[in-house]
């Protein structure tokens, strides 16, 4: 499937208002059209576009204005015909004199929807864009590359399956590239596309492209991401975005950006057993009682044994009800109504889970959070935590913060806006989570400030925190006070290594240890 780039062959559509009554007036013609199957008339018959055989791919674009991010997204929308002529006409009117030398309108105007942004010339928030090819549809989270990028990027990345990282071919990787890749990884994205943009301005320098791709692969590997595709791109000229750029870059025989996106996987990533956060109890009459929610992991079928958390009651699934039919199975993503075989107490915020694969329950968890508001996260302040349909009180104790420059964690007891930190969560009542690594739904939460009702953080559970002294769990714990060298030898043993995550180790002075032990005795 080789199609050469069709630079500048679009009309800007200013004639669209001339004949507003005719939908099919002045079809936009391109020399070589690929996205609409190459032949516009193919659709004028009774044959509509074939059903899409996959879920929409959600992606995030990371990069700054200087890297040409707006141009790249604009190019994707333009070349897939997601921009219609009247929109282009509005664009042309607003951007009078700002067209580039290829006769294309200023794409940033198309993207920066809000008036305030247009006036200030900056992007201030997350916007969502939609485009589709014959094979798939795409949802792009478009986030600003500069101010408050952590906050906005985290928001956009939370739902994304893939991240496009954009760099200027003349400049190569920047510190911000590392930041963006780090945040994307933290939010659970495991597929990267590196778009080496403005490759035309390097004279299509292959060595330059190879060097940048190599550097990026190293960076991605250091973050644990193996699925990386690097593409030399000219967003302005439309090369290797939707149309291939082999005319200018015969040395590149890899896929175009859109081809990579078409083949990318949507995150399944829910490696846990069955999870159903209960949103609502449906009782339309005396004889029917169903639990409504969206399956957040695993699958379920009639006959399965389930546990209701936090109560721990056990029941069996009798029916999976949906509007269309009584189903014989449901999988992650399905919005269902579950009927159980016995009267159990279930309410909104509970979770119905597989009996043989349960999430962790407890009152203390460890998590990583991104602080989203100017007030940051105050140590030990009590917030509302919402995860799935469950909302409960929690106090948050920051313990360390990520330095995005170096990628290293350092101690911290408060987190300001845009900071990424590790925190201890302490709940009043039982909480249940999976690790975010295992489940991007049951491991994710937001924090809400009870004073303002605003969303102040997004968080990802790393694991259950075993409490010192067995205060919150029934297991017996032993506190030891040891000389440091002996402790080191014990910690180095195989026995400990195998159960390292069950240990709490603090290095403190002998006097402090004595105080602590005394206080326990008292």
């Amino acid at each position: 499937m080789t199609v050469s780039a069709s630079t500048g062959s679009h009309s800007t559509g200013t004639q669209a208002t001339g004949n507003p009554a005719n939908l099919q007036s002045g079809p936009r013609t391109t020399a070589e059209t690929k996205v609409s199957s190459g032949n516009v008339t193919a659709f004028t018959g009774s044959e509509a576009r074939a059903p899409r055989d996959s879920r929409p791919l959600r992606l995030i674009t990371c990069g700054s204005v200087d890297d040409g991010k707006s141009t790249l997204i604009g190019r994707l929308l333009w070349d897939t015909k997601a921009v219609k002529e009247d929109q282009a006409a509005t664009l042309a009117r607003d951007s009078s004199g700002k067209q580039n030398d290829l006769g294309l309108p200023d794409f940033a105007l198309l993207l920066d929807g809000l008036q305030a942004e247009r006036e200030q010339g900056i992007t201030i928030d997350v916007a969502y864009r939609y485009f589709a090819t014959e094979n798939r549809s795409f949802i792009v989270a478009d986030t600003p590359g500069h101010e408050q990028y952590t906050r906005n990027m985290a928001t956009g990345a939370s739902t994304a399956d893939l991240a496009i990282l954009l760099v200027d071919a003349r400049v190569g990787l920047l510190e911000q590239t590392r930041r963006h890749a780090t945040i994307a990884t933290l939010m659970g994205i495991r597929q990267f596309v590196l778009a080496v943009n403005k490759i035309d301005l390097t004279g299509y320098d292959r060595a330059r492209f190879d060097a940048i791709s190599h550097d990026f692969r190293e960076l991605a590997l250091s973050l644990g991401v193996r699925q990386v595709t690097a593409i030399p791109v000219s967003a302005l000229k439309g090369e290797n975005v939707v149309y291939d750029g082999s005319a200018s870059m015969p040395w590149y025989d890899g896929p175009t950006l859109v081809e990579v996106l078409e083949l990318a996987t949507v995150r399944s990533g829910q490696t846990t057993g069955f999870r159903l956060p209960v949103q609502r109890v449906s009782r339309p009459g005396e004889s029917f009682r169903g639990y409504q929610g969206t399956v957040a992991g695993g699958s379920v079928k009639p006959g399965d044994s389930v546990v209701i958390l936090p109560s721990g009651m056990v029941a069996n699934v009798t029916k999976i009800v949906t509007f269309d039919l009584v189903r014989n199975a449901a999988v992650a993503g399905d919005a269902i109504t579950l009927v159980l075989d016995r009267q159990v107490d279930v309410s909104r915020g509970d979770m119905i889970v597989a009996i043989d694969s349960q999430p962790q329950t407890g009152v203390a968890f460890d998590a990583q959070i991104v602080a989203l508001q100017p007030d940051g996260i105050q140590p030990n302040k009590r917030y509302w935590l919402k995860s799935g349909s469950r909302r409960q009180r929690v106090s948050v104790e920051p313990v360390s913060q990520l330095d995005l420059k170096s990628g290293k964690w350092g101690p911290s007891d408060a987190l300001s806006m845009n900071a990424i930190g590790k925190v201890h969560l302490a709940f009043d009542e039982q909480a249940m989570f999976d690790a975010y690594e295992q489940n991007r739904t049951t491991g994710a939460f937001i924090l809400i400030d009870p004073d303002t009702n605003n969303t102040v953080a997004g968080g990802m559970i790393t694991g259950k925190r075993s409490s010192l002294g067995g205060i919150h769990t029934e297991e017996t714990r032993v506190l030891l006070s040891l000389p440091a060298d002996l402790a080191d030898r014990i910690l180095a043993s195989d026995l400990v290594a195998g159960r390292r995550d069950e240990l709490e180790v603090r290095r403190i002075s002998a006097a402090r240890a004595q105080d602590l032990l005394d206080s326990l005795d008292g």
């Binding site: 576009r49 059903p51 008036q115 969502y128 739902t159 009459g285 969206t294 909104r348 009702n453």
Partner: protein, 317 residues
């Protein structure tokens, strides 16, 4: 009347349809999730029902979300008195067929001050008969959440709106100060008087709407299908010339055209398109090759640059 369905009827006879493709299924699941979340979290939700194709999809999804129960909130139709007659007939039929609670509200100023799209201009008319009327109806009902059928692909300012869109007690939207929205965890915490507009169709595109209508056989107003209809050309738009209140101006003449509507609103402000699309398949095929957006036929979006954002800030849906 018992709302309980006999066991046998849990199997919906409509299930003879082939299953949805994964793309539409994902959009449907997301919308149902939002419906249930709002219904579970808010005291008094209401669903804005404009009788158009997006409302038709919204209603269908609401019925699915709460099946086998009834839709647990009323529908609100903000009427202006200038809707297409076929829309009103269709609305009344749907309300009856699906056993829905409908609240209809018309701003009393319309009649009292004789506010019409002809006398007041589209901007002022829309402000009074739609934006102000909506605020009146929401206040009167004391609703703390209102579902709307807006899609992010419709218009630039919508692209940045959250799925839970927070409103102040006077219904204002502050686009620069929206709550961050991560994953599918929605923050529904509000104070008394504040409210949330919830948009289950945020991630749908126009083509998705039509493909879903086709796949699910959802009834829609016949005006969406092409037919010979009387029209008159005004301000660069072809408007339907059926209502006796439409007075022809000098130089204007009624003529028959084979037309349909891509969106439906107030008939004097909604432009028709020439089309021969008489089936859903035709409409989808037409859309695939369309070169203009659906809102192109809406006079109110073109009043001024950034006009939708301005209206939204003031409380328009």
């Amino acid at each position: 009347m018992s709302l309980t369905l006999p066991e046998t009827e849990l199997h919906n006879p409509q299930s003879a349809r082939p299953p949805l493709d994964p793309h539409l299924k994902a959009l449907e699941n997301e919308a149902i999730h939002i419906f249930r979340e709002v219904a579970g979290e808010f005291e008094k939700p209401v669903m804005l029902y404009s009788v158009g194709k997006d409302s038709a999809v919204l209603l269908h999804l609401a019925r699915k979300a709460f099946y086998p129960g009834r839709v647990p909130f009323p529908l609100l139709h903000v009427n202006t008195g200038w809707k297409f007659a076929e829309m009103i007939a269709f609305r009344d039929e749907i309300v009856k067929r699906y056993d829905l609670d409908l609240i209809e509200h018309i701003n009393p100023r319309g009649a009292a001050e004789n506010v019409t799209p002809f006398t007041h201009g589209s901007a002022l008319y829309t402000d009074i008969m739609k934006t102000e009327a909506l605020r009146q109806a929401l206040d009167a009902g004391g609703f703390d959440a209102a579902f709307g059928g807006a899609r992010r692909d419709e218009e630039a300012s919508r692209a940045k709106e959250r799925i839970y869109s927070f409103r102040t007690p006077d219904h204002r939207w502050d686009p620069r100060n929206q709550r961050p929205e991560l994953w599918n965890v929605y923050n529904g915490m509000i104070r008394k008087g504040e409210s949330v507009r919830a948009f289950p169709l945020s991630n749908w595109t126009e083509v998705d709407i039509w493909r879903y209508i086709q796949a699910e056989e959802i009834p829609i107003v016949p005006l969406y299908f092409a037919a010979e209809r009387p029209v008159v050309e005004r301000d660069g738009m072809m408007i339907l010339a059926e209502d006796p209140r439409l007075e022809l101006q000098p130089g204007e003449a009624k003529r028959q055209e084979r037309i349909r509507f891509r969106t439906l609103g107030c008939f004097p402000l909604t432009g028709a398109i020439r089309s021969s699309a008489t089936t859903l398949t035709d409409i989808i095929a037409e859309l695939e090759t369309a070169t203009v957006s659906e809102r192109q036929g809406r006079a109110i979006d073109r009043d001024q640059s950034g006009s939708m954002e301005k209206k939204k800030r003031e409380g328009y849906f």
